[in-house]
Symmetry: D2
């Protein structure tokens, strides 16, 4: 088990009455990820807001209608994550004909993951590989080796085919390209937003993170194609087809945003089975 | 109430053992659309198949693993459709802050509806219009007037921004562009596949049809941006974000397809309240 | 006649030996634009460089191989521009069949002006208009009214179809879109880089400018689709199909650039027929 | 020397008076390619037409204004081609700083060759290779091995980045991708249309061909990235930045086209030094 402390601050200037925000900043509540403490502090006393629990992998949506002026949102949480671990060599693919109907959606193309255009490409590179977890891992490695991480090198409309062509991006772009290549290889794959414990400080201040889940052997396994974090320390906030579904903030109305401030600390308490997140050769699943 | 008879034949040549098909060819079963008779005939005696009911607007997925050789799928159905009708002038928009969480997904961009890129465009054309059903209708009209219907003018990767640029397409392209413009205007919109009763024979033989639902006044209202069918005669097969979700056939494996053959007839039985589909100024909803 | 004084400073930090620069920063020398004084100052004493005159509308290419370290390039010029002026109503289009072969190139699509995709669009909006200068002007007006000027809203790969979709850009994007729409309307059009006398200081410091020439009545007439400068005060630096041909600086090698500094002053000397640039209803040509 | 006999027939139905055609169907006249016989037969007695010689690599433009009705254009030519041959290992690259100004254009991106987007991609694959002819050849081989030839798999707006993503195309697409990758590697490259002596009949009837020239060692060397013809038997028709410049037919007006019919025969006359085109390891140049 790992135990993480999240501290998150968002700051905005709201220019119009009734600007609407949809946030996915709460730690998801799932069988594998439990929240033992959390607090939410919203600076505007008269803002209307509510937190809605979704059935989608335990995510929670904070809906907020703000008033003009400064808006600060501060969220703290203590979260315990257990991981289902498996030997990569023992994880098989699920044939398309046996995919559950609700998983099937994640094999289709989406806004930022145009897998339909990558069928020949994926076929040429990955079809001949042995089936199983290793194939997804090969896709993950390919993306990591062929795309360069560079801050501010992409924008809100950058999609997987752009990254495939331009070979540069941030974690979200790595995730989109890996997802698109998995789907093009008939592996259901989805996008998870979370936090990036263990990221290299040289890449900039701590930030939201985007990573990938691939459906293999009847579960969703974690992959971190940008390789910028320690997978065992990734905390799930929201899960979707791609970044279009799970932006940490979707805003309607005239608003100026500041850079979010995020801090993630890991606790260690070996006596109670709490370890620091560490790299492992095992396949990890939290869904 | 309208009553439709659907007759649908699909023919394939399968080259590999274990080719997998996912069909959305069954009439959806909903509160507004009831199936009083249906039959499904699959030519391959040893093919494995099943029909799975989804919670998604009553659609049913036919999953089939075929053997090499000819494959014919024949589906017949008798379907009654009642319509919730409303005066367009009385249908208001739902403010973003009050959209149900499950509807919110339909305001996000998707593979073929890149609404994120159309914000300025939609703002310039539609933001000043009176709020309500009329605004969705104005978008529908705009698409119909600015795009030309031409068979085979688009392909499987054609998306809304392409249609906006090239101004030509088929019903699916009209639907994608209308959906993208609605979402860019903060109106949740989704893609429905069905059949096209009343289509102009000059446009070619009867075919699957694609149309649009926009969420207004707490319901999903029907729009037919290509204007090629009589909305009251549209039978719902499947519902999704765009064509990526609800292709009538998704095929994995080496298969050659023939042109589908579709026939839709409407019954009339005034004594029992069954009328022929006709054009109406009323807003229609079946979801 | 107008008389302009240009002062231009470029600053770079060069990281590798032998970084190559191609600059189009000299005032073009043409029948209509004469340089009465100029000076070029290059800070690196041992850099190799030369200025090559091209036959292409009098432009001059400064080729420079720099050494590691700071590099400053300073160019001063005094330039007189006479304008061929004509009444817009008297300028006819040249039928495609009578276009000179060397003009024909400017009717084809180019990197940033994908006119081939805009045929239906241009047809719908502009085909019915009266032929002549007024049609080009209508295209210019359409672009100005439908695109919003916003600094840093586009990047080096933004092309005309992107601007048509996103409706925002800088002067280069306005120019590309106008050029693409002209070509799609069978009007040869090309891209000119120059300086922007008379630009609104609210849009930022003085900068390079991009504008458009359309071939009408046997000449190339000036258009300024972004409307940010006074056309009579535009000084030609280079001329090409689009920005790919005539970037003010093309750089090979590891180099960091600073924002260019540009100043343009107009002289007035009515006794000698030199006026300040002013807006006019006349059609202007300098080529 | 090789000697080719070309026979070419184009058929159209013209719907409007004054439809304009620009054809590049004449064999180019250059130092290396001489025309010893040719005839041009145009079926419409009253059509106005002329052939204009361009300075651009000897190409000739046939301009024709047709009348409504059937139009047949038949061109016959006997053409001798000598090749400048060199040992690949002895051909060096020309540093960017030494490229002639008129060659520099072919290092810039164009409509179908968006080399600006491929800088990282080309850098990763080809920057470390030894400089010289072999590097261009490595790019040619890469394209041939990673793209699949399939008739009708692309359309008029398919560009290099599409082919890079979708990995399928026809000879024009192979050429565009190779050109884009060369330019992204700082190798000037251009597009040549011609005929495809020696093409595999399994790929369909004889057709126009598209191939590539790369500027190396002070000359333009031939490359055939689709590998569908014998380079020594390629006859040059027109030369440009990409297909936008040198379509064999550009048509303005309402016209229906039939498939062109092309036949190319090679003569052999060893006594006079005329050989059949054959594959060779030597680098070939005809410009």
């Amino acid at each position: 088990m790992v135990k993480l402390q999240l501290e998150l601050e968002l700051s905005y200037t709201v220019f119009e009455p009734g600007a609407d925000f949809f946030f996915y900043i709460h730690a998801a509540c799932t069988q594998y990820q439990t929240v033992s403490f959390e607090s939410l502090d919203i600076s505007q006393k008269h803002a209307r807001w509510e937190v809605q629990q979704s059935q989608n992998v335990g995510q929670r949506c904070l809906r907020l209608s703000a008033e003009p002026g400064a808006l600060h949102v501060r969220y703290l949480a203590t979260v315990a994550i257990t991981h289902f671990c498996a030997e990569p060599a023992q994880i098989a693919e699920v044939p398309v004909s046996q995919l559950p109907l609700e998983v099937l959606h994640y094999i289709y193309p989406s806004r930022y993951c145009q897998s339909d255009r990558l069928a020949n490409f994926a076929m040429g590179l990955f079809a001949h590989l042995p089936q199983g977890y290793a194939r997804a891992q090969a896709i993950c490695e390919w993306v990591r080796q062929h795309v360069t991480f560079r801050s501010n090198s992409s924008n809100a409309s950058t999609a997987a085919v752009d990254t495939l062509v331009e070979r540069v991006g941030v974690c979200r772009d790595f995730a989109h390209l890996m997802i698109a290549l998995c789907r093009a290889s008939n592996l259901p794959a989805r996008f998870v937003t979370g936090t990036d414990y263990g990221a290299d400080p040289a890449l900039g201040p701590s930030d939201f993170h985007a990573y990938v889940e691939v459906y293999l052997g009847g579960r969703w396994y974690l992959f971190d194609p940008s390789g910028t974090a320690i997978p065992m320390g990734m905390m799930r906030l929201a899960t979707g087809r791609d970044a279009a579904d799970v932006a940490f903030a979707t805003i309607f109305g005239g608003v100026m945003s500041e850079q979010p401030r995020i801090r993630v600390l890991a606790e260690s308490d070996e006596a109670h089975g709490v370890s620091l997140p560490s790299h492992t050769h095992l396949a990890l699943s939290t869904a």
